[in-house]
């Protein structure tokens, strides 16, 4: 596989009152598996359904009900693991994580503590052209989501919605390889991008399809390198976990706040208490979630209702054979195949639909020109109007048609912009529009020459000036273009004007 050359970004340094500090960040990302049915029941996973309408007996933990693993969800997790270049464990097992909460009907969550389905992998997190952080994945395990408790509908009662109960999640656990708030957000964005490419998670953070628990600690410059040499986590400082973040912006703000909070404590001679914290977007602060007395003992043990999950290497290979080209490979290929910048390649490959659209436009045409048109004209306009590529009024065929007209010399770049605007707002076949609206550029040198002659004859004073200063030739070009309604081939006009003025 082709990777673009890159170097690691500099870690973020925060200056405290007394010294400089670095950040160490590890994430647990909870990604909802794209699947019609839940992990252990046939109930639907559709978002936004009537409360408690997508609930099977087993989801409600009715007496005697048993979980049966949904093979598709496992395939999706394997696919995700393969997309993160991770070890797939042919034998894994489900464990119960026990705690009481009304939106957890069984009184335990079925998860994978001891033997996760996916082992070590890695993600390359782009931080700008030529700069990327390699983040190691420790594991991915499959688990059930909980339901939703609603506390603000009634002053005396809480309500429970079990629609989400039992939906399959992948918990993607990173190593503490992330060194700043921006990197953390970029890491989540990269995971999201890869899973969207794979079709294993829709990445919709607003609907809760992607949430992150962020572990943050601070250390002195040099400590991280010591950790890398020795593998000793203790030099990285005591970490706090900020739970359940569902926006890239909040992730960054929470890390920034949390790091500064820890630095202030440490510089004051205090020490950090390892704990779970919540980020409050209203105040921009993190606060402790529970006291030590209430610390949970989850009493994990192997779920006796489920046999160990054994999968075949052949099955894994079959899934591997259907993996799409992933963002890193695609980006590298765009740079080499189309000669575009890494930046442009990054923009075009952000979403797989965008990349596919671009490639349809670029097929058999000039890749650089296609990239410019797709990024600047189409994406620019779509973004301005708040649309995605799926809602683009201009198809790849139409945009390709415009590019063909430019390439053939039928229209100038300037006319092409007008044509694009017409196609965008009114639709239609670009070639037919050019014909119907007489937009074809004049390439007949005789006609252009006649026009140039006319203007030279009418403006003797300008001719004198231009002969003394050839830069003024542009004025004549402009006049010719004006006279031809912009349809004259600019290159031909340039040539003829400079020849005539040179006479």
């Amino acid at each position: 596989m082709l990777d673009l050359a890159h170097e690691a970004p500099k870690p973020k340094v925060i200056s405290g009152a007394k010294s400089d500090w670095e950040l160490v960040i590890g994430l647990e990302v909870h990604a909802q598996v794209s699947s019609k049915a839940k992990l252990f029941s046939g109930a639907s996973t559709r978002f936004g359904a009537e409360p408690n309408s997508n609930v099977a007996f087993v989801d409600a933990a009715m007496p005697g009900m048993l979980p049966v693993v949904n093979e598709f969800c496992i395939a999706q997790a394997v696919r995700t693991g393969l997309g993160l270049k991770a070890q797939i464990n042919l034998v894994s097992a489900f464990d119960r994580k026990n705690y009481f909460y009304p939106d957890l009907p069984q009184g335990y969550q079925i998860s994978q503590l001891y033997h996760p389905l996916v082992g070590e992998g890695e993600v390359l997190v782009d931080m700008g052209p030529g700069v990327a952080r390699r983040v190691r994945i420790e594991r991915i395990h499959v688990e059930q989501d909980a339901g939703k408790s609603i506390h603000d509908m009634d002053p005396t009662m809480s309500f429970v919605d079990l629609n989400r109960t039992g939906v399959a999640l992948m918990e993607i656990v990173s190593r503490p390889d992330i060194r700043g708030p921006e990197e953390a957000a970029a890491y989540v964005a990269k995971l999201r991008q890869i899973m969207r490419y794979l079709g294993t998670c829709d990445g919709n953070m607003q609907n809760g399809s992607l949430r992150a628990d962020v572990n943050v600690s601070v250390c002195k410059p040099g400590d991280y390198e010591r950790y890398q040499e020795t593998g000793d986590h203790r030099v990285l400082g005591t970490r706090c976990e900020i739970k359940n973040m569902n926006s890239m912006r909040f992730i960054q703000a929470a890390i920034e706040y949390e790091a500064r909070r820890q630095i202030a404590i440490l510089e004051d001679g205090g020490s950090i208490v390892q704990e779970t914290r919540l980020y409050d977007p209203d105040t921009g602060e993190t606060r402790s979630m529970r006291s030590k007395e209430e610390a949970h003992d989850y009493r994990y043990f192997p779920d006796p209702d489920l046999l160990p999950l054994e999968i075949e290497q052949d099955w894994v290979d079959e899934i591997a054979a259907t993996l799409p080209e992933l963002p890193d490979e695609k980006k590298a290929r765009f740079v080499t195949e189309y000669g575009m910048t890494e930046y442009d390649a990054g923009v075009l490959t952000a979403e797989t639909e965008n990349a596919a659209f671009f490639e349809e436009v670029a097929r058999g045409r000039d890749g650089k020109a296609a990239a410019n048109w797709v990024i600047n004209d189409l994406f620019g306009r779509l973004r301005k109007e708040g649309h995605g590529i799926g809602e683009s009024p201009v198809s790849s065929g139409q945009l390709g048609g415009i590019l063909d007209l430019i390439a053939k010399g039928d229209i100038s770049g300037k006319i092409a912009k007008d044509l694009f605007d017409i196609v965008y707002t009114e639709g239609g076949d670009p070639a037919e529009i050019v014909e119907a609206r007489r937009m074809r550029q004049v390439t007949d040198t005789g006609a252009i020459e006649a026009e140039v002659d006319k203007i030279i004859a009418a403006n003797p004073a300008q001719v004198e000036k231009a002969k003394a200063n050839p830069k003024l030739a542009g004025w004549f070009v402009g006049q010719v273009m004006k006279a031809t309604g912009g349809k004259a081939n600019p290159q031909a006009v340039n040539e003829i004007v400079s020849r005539k003025l040179g006479d």
Binding site: A61, R96, G107, Y108, R299, F301
Partner: protein, 494 residues
Amino acid sequence: MSLNQLTIAEARDKLRGGEITAVELTAACLQAVEGADALNAFAHKTPEIALAQAKEADARLAAGNAPDLCGIPLGIKDLFCTEGVPSQAGSRILDGFRPEYESTVTRQLFEQGAVMLGKLNMDEFAMGSSNETSTYGNVVNPWRRGNDEAALTPGGSSGGSAAAVAADLCLGATGTDTGGSIRQPAAFTGIVGIKPTYGRCSRWGIIAFASSLDQAGPMAKSVRDAAILLGAMAGHDPMDSTSADLPVPDFEAALTGDIRSKTIGIPREYRMEGMPDEIEALWEDGRRMLEDAGARIVDISLPHTKYALPAYYVIAPAEASSNLARYDGVRYGRRAKLSQGDGVLEMYEKTRAEGFGDEVKRRVMVGTYVLSAGFYDAYYNRARRVRTLIKRDFEEAFAQGVDAILTPATPSAAFELGSMADADPVQMYLNDVFTVTVNLAGLPGISVPTGLDRSGLPLGLQLIGRPWQEADLLDAAFALERAADFGHKPGKWW
């Protein structure tokens, strides 16, 4: 002889032969049930359902080709969820719970045309060996010590099933067995009970006690009846991940009684310190009977037997503590009345405090303790290792050519209700000493009545078989049953 005294095999033949109708048979059973309230075997009676099912069965019988169980009245242990019928596992915490679904085992039975007389009393959540922990009150054993009127335990947890079958209230019953809950009450009431190999019967719809140990099985008047019932209860169920995808043999057809090529092992570790002479003698008689029937008898060793009971009383409560977490008052069953200002924690605490009985609470607490951080390795993991060793003991015995293992079913005959009230709970747990090993190893085990003690109470022997070889095991039990020719019934006093 009234119809309710028939065995399943006899009734089947009479039904097919048109000698009796399912409605007549059902009516006889319902009458027997009505007259047996003193036994408290039924937690919930379903006469309307029974008669409706009996009518349907008669129609099927008339059409011909009716299955074996068509028209056979059964009792169903309260642990089985039965659609629209109270299913409370003998617990207060499931007050008012009527499932909207039918357990796989009972669905299979009813699809075969079996008739449900009602739900049978049991120890709460199948936790107990004397049937004294039920919210419905204890079941009384139909057997008495001669003329002594002292009420005896039918054993547990399937005590209602055992008493109902022994007293001829039904022709057979479903039971479940986590540590001996089929075999011990069967032995205490002079009937046959088999716990099949773990995974033979679906657990779907059976209220869970300890998932890795729970198995459903039949309780019946004879080995033949047990074979017929087991055939209808068993089978692969895709809804239970631990259910085995194996064909179910014709167990009844396997009953030849010819065990001349078989090797029976006698495990020396089951000769417990302080074992009553009567049990020792019963075991010796069994050995001799099998030998006389032509089997080869060998002494074997199952060296880790003594660790089985402690391991069981770690693993079963651990799983139970988690399985019973769902009874929280949120969605179904009982919810405690709350006081002003009570929150969700108070709801849990009060609901579970009043909903669970003492034995359930004890096991939930033990289970929570052995799974908690810092104790997990010392208890739960160690118990799991013991379990592996116990399993290996059996595997080695079978590898040496042993076909079945003969042991006592219980360390004593039925004891008096209330006699253990002040005893250390461990004294009660000792009832399971011969049976828990079988659950830990996932093997099939059957209890067959083979004798009476001095006071006239039934005693049973246990045969333990190879995994999935219930057909062979039933055949050995059939030989033992024939040789013992037990034939005793409790005198009717109720």
